[in-house]
């Protein structure tokens, strides 16, 4: 994984010592006592941030929100952070609720990601990312294209060749229809000059189910984020053909799609956003807090243990990238025939 950005600053060490006494003494040996102590000490703080995870507990966005919570608190950037889960419809239900209820509130944040871009389009959601203030991209994963180790296909060119010959005979296993994996296949088909509506994409509900189908050779090829396949590739049960990053990934022995001659770059990123209607000072304050967070040791440690790549991108640069992503996603979803 690419571990760029956020050089561990020495003053972070001091920050760690500054952690409030309740946090420190409480959470050590006996956590029940800790939570009790925390609950008693709670009135001493004002709720600094409330982060909405527009998904059920346990998923990627929820984990991002809860990691943000831990890091913000432990680094002393915010005294008390609450996480609220509002699951449903690719995050669009949470987004709609956030946009309407938190407008102008500088203490509210929402976690989101590339999946939301597609979900807004396919669900024809009335509330879009224009109705919030994107703050920064935090982390991201790239898509990987694999075949089972027993497959006759050795490289990406052979796979594309088969696709050109008979698109129906190449079945692709990946996540739900219209999701990042489906988009990746659509983009590849288009770049290779194959009609994207002709791809034989088999949608599965979870990473595990799709992976089982690929390992069992039920399908020709599989598409998902690299992390989902990593351990299988290392064990030699899957053959990695290509990844969707801009440049080669460190420690990954496969060409990018771009290198192979197909102009496809796709990152499944996660971001944090604030409500609309903030003053410039308020927005700048949040930007500063998130920047501090991203550079903190706690956050960098979190990225490492969770195997998340640091793809931090903030401010105007992020807004620009976001606008590009939305435009290209809308185009490909139209090409696949999912958006009319």
């Amino acid at each position: 994984m690419i571990g760029t950005g956020g050089d561990p600053l020495s003053h972070n060490q001091k920050h760690r010592v500054q952690v409030t006494p309740t946090e420190d003494t409480a959470l050590k040996p006996f956590f029940l006592a800790s939570i009790l102590a925390g609950a008693i000490a709670l009135p001493a703080y004002s709720a600094d941030y409330t982060i909405m995870a527009p998904a059920a507990p346990g998923g990627g966005w929820d984990q991002t929100a809860r990691s943000l919570q831990t890091a913000l608190q432990e680094e002393g950037i915010s005294g008390n952070v609450q996480v609220v889960n509002v699951p449903g419809a690719g995050g669009t239900i949470g987004l709609a609720q956030f946009a309407s209820q938190q407008k102008g509130n500088p203490n509210a944040l929402i976690v989101g990601g590339y999946v939301m871009v597609g979900a807004i389009l396919t669900n024809q959601a009335p509330v879009t990312l224009k109705d919030v203030t994107p703050i920064a991209r935090l982390t991201g994963e790239y898509e990987a294209i694999v075949v089972p180790a027993s497959s006759e296909i050795e490289n990406i060119d052979q796979l594309v060749e088969a696709l050109k010959k008979d698109p129906g005979s190449v079945s692709w296993a990946g996540g739900s229809a219209g999701g990042t994996d489906h988009i990746a296949v659509g983009l590849l088909a288009k770049a290779a000059g194959v009609d994207p509506t002709k791809i034989n994409y088999i949608a599965y509900s979870g990473g595990g189910e799709a992976l089982a189908a690929i390992l069992g050779s039920q399908v020709t090829a599989g598409v998902s984020s690299y992390g989902e396949f990593q351990s299988q590739i290392e064990a030699g049960t899957l053959r990695l053909l290509a990844v969707s990053s801009d440049e080669r990934l460190e420690g990954v022995d496969a060409p990018t799609l771009k290198e192979a001659g197909y102009d496809v770059v796709l990152q499944n990123w996660r971001m944090v956003a604030a409500p609309a209607g903030l003053s410039e000072e308020q927005e700048a304050a949040i930007q500063a807090d998130i920047k501090k967070l991203v550079e903190s040791e706690t956050w960098q440690e979190t990225l490492e243990t969770k195997n998340w790549a640091d793809t931090y991108l903030a401010g105007d640069e992020f807004q620009e990238q976001l606008a590009k992503d939305i435009a290209s996603t809308e185009q490909i979803l139209k090409d696949i025939g999912l958006v009319k």
């Binding site: 029940l32 507990p57 699951p87 219209g178 088999i202 949608a203 992976l211 039920q218």
Partner: protein, 505 residues
């Protein structure tokens, strides 16, 4: 070191007093959150996982295992006592378990469920330890056509086991099927029957439906009887403990439940509830007391509970051997493992044997701890039933809505709870069975998706469905399960069968 030595080492580490305490705390916390209707083991583990981060790897693995088993068992307790299934896998438990509780046999129901869970958990964990690499080779052979055949088998066996009226049983099943197509179609991304309501895009939550139909529907039904019924239920008739006959009738269902549940749990798209359905249908066919089914048959609790726990251990087979998280719970476990720098995958058993065996040992300890915690509490639990009706039912509704709000604090979800509660009430008034609605809601999408995946892979060739040996065998079994009862009926033994198909209500 050999497999056995690793396991022994793990057990020794897990038996340290401090670790046993962590196991106890984990089981208690897991049970406390898991009892909430609508909050299954997956959510329980997700909510409580951060608690384990502060401990050393061994301690946190043990507490984690405790939370997992506690979350699972919590659902069964409320299913039996309050008729509020906490998760889809304990819906079947509510069918017979709650009938037993109403008849003053809540004690034996809870006991057979706890001991059955323990026995199944023990056997399944040992199977996991020694057979995982072989089991997974078979499980991975299951593709869309094999799953479709399995779903057909489940439909045939389960639908013949519900209700005294073919018309009303089928109607309930089709109502469930109709609800199951609501939301975004997973294979094409098209919305069906959502009528532009964003909250319906993800479909109808099985647990919301189950809690509404069982708990709220029944509360309304009891309320509508006015003051006719007695103020309280007699909580204990006979012994609070299982008698000799209960034991004799329980041990075979426990073993059969384990045999059914473990492989289905090990299949990447099996799902724990399928195992409980099949186990219930099996027990209903094999029982010597068919007249008791629908009125509180102990086999109907013992089998599905064992199947549920066995399939939970089965889920760990693909997770530990292949790194495949096949259920929501497994996906969250995976996130938990990463805290210890553990990357589940095909090499896990080789590269990280200490942790894997530590986990397996922890599961065994947590399983035992669950029994230690729950058996003495059974006497206390059944006392819940002696609460006077007004307070009991207000408590049930507080509890049922608490679970729903905790899982998803949305007013729309509460509206669904009310709507399906009223539907459940009307169905009770007209003598419709409730369970087939939930069965249709669960099995419908599974069968549809696998059929369509299989046909997409074969590019529309229908013969593909039958040309795999496993699928062919499953189809033949399903056909036999359908035809044999018909032949028996023609030969004049129909009255036996209609007796077996006693109404659950």
């Amino acid at each position: 070191m050999s497999t056995f030595e690793f396991l022994l080492q793990g057990l020794v580490a897990a038996m340290e007093p401090m670790n046993l305490l962590y196991a106890l705390i984990g089981v208690t916390l897991g049970t406390a959150v898991g009892v909430l209707p609508g909050i299954g083991p997956a959510l329980t583990v997700a909510l409580l996982l951060p608690v384990t981060y502060r401990l050393d790897p061994t301690g946190s693995l043990i507490m984690f295992a405790g939370i997992y088993y506690g979350g699972m068992y919590g659902g069964s307790t409320t299913s039996i006592l309050l008729n509020t299934p906490g998760e889809s896998a304990s819906i079947v438990t509510a069918l017979e378990g709650n009938k037993m509780a109403r008849a003053g046999r809540g004690g034996p129901a809870l006991a057979t469920s706890a001991i059955g869970s323990f026995v199944a958990g023990l056997i399944a964990t040992l199977l996991l330890a020694f057979l995982a690499p072989y089991v997974v080779q078979i499980a991975i052979k299951f593709g869309p056509r094999e799953y479709f055949a399995l779903m057909v088998l489940a439909f045939v066996t389960v639908s013949s086991a519900f209700g005294d009226s073919a018309l009303r049983g089928l109607t309930a099943l089709f109502v469930g099927l109709a609800f199951s197509v609501v939301g975004i179609d997973q294979l094409t991304g098209q919305t069906r029957l959502a009528f532009g309501v964003p909250d319906l895009l993800d479909g109808i939550e099985v647990t919301t439906m189950a809690v509404a139909m069982f708990a709220i529907g029944e509360t309304l039904f009891i309320a509508a009887q006015g003051m006719r019924g007695p103020e309280t239920v007699e909580a204990v008739k006979g012994s609070v403990w299982m008698n000799a006959q209960d034991w004799a009738r329980s041990w075979k269902p426990w073993l059969r439940g384990t045999v059914i549940g473990f492989p289905i749990g090990a299949m990447p798209a099996g799902g724990a509830e399928i195992g409980t359905f099949l186990s219930y249908a099996t027990e209903k066919r094999l029982t010597k007391h068919p007249e008791e089914f629908g009125n509180g048959a102990i086999e109907g609790v013992a089998g599905p509970e064992a199947a549920n726990n066995a399939s939970a251990a089965g889920t760990l087979v693909p997770l530990l051997t292949l790194g495949l998280p096949t259920t929501a719970t497994a996906a969250i476990m995976l996130a938990g493992f990463q805290q210890y720098g553990l990357q589940p995958g095909p090499l896990l058993f080789a590269t990280n044997p200490q942790l894997v065996w530590g986990l397996i040992a922890s599961l065994l300890i947590a399983n035992g701890m669950l029994l230690v915690l729950n058996l003495p509490l059974i006497g206390l639990w059944v006392k819940l039933l002696t609460i006077p009706k007004p307070w009991l039912y207000s408590g049930i509704l507080v509890f049922a809505t608490l679970g729903t709000i905790g899982a998803n604090p949305s007013v729309f979800e509460l509206g669904m709870l009310l709507t399906f509660g009223l539907l459940g009430y009307v169905m009770r008034v007209f003598g419709y069975p409730i369970a087939p609605v939930v069965v249709g809601l669960i099995l419908g999408p599974l069968a549809e998706q696998q059929l369509r995946r299989a046909l997409a892979i074969s590019q529309g060739d229908v013969t593909y469905l039958f040309t795999s040996p496993i699928a062919a065998v499953l189809f033949v079994v399903a056909a036999l399960a359908f035809i044999v009862p018909l032949i028996l009926r023609i030969r004049g033994r129909g009255e036996v069968l209609s007796q077996m198909a006693a109404n659950e209500d």
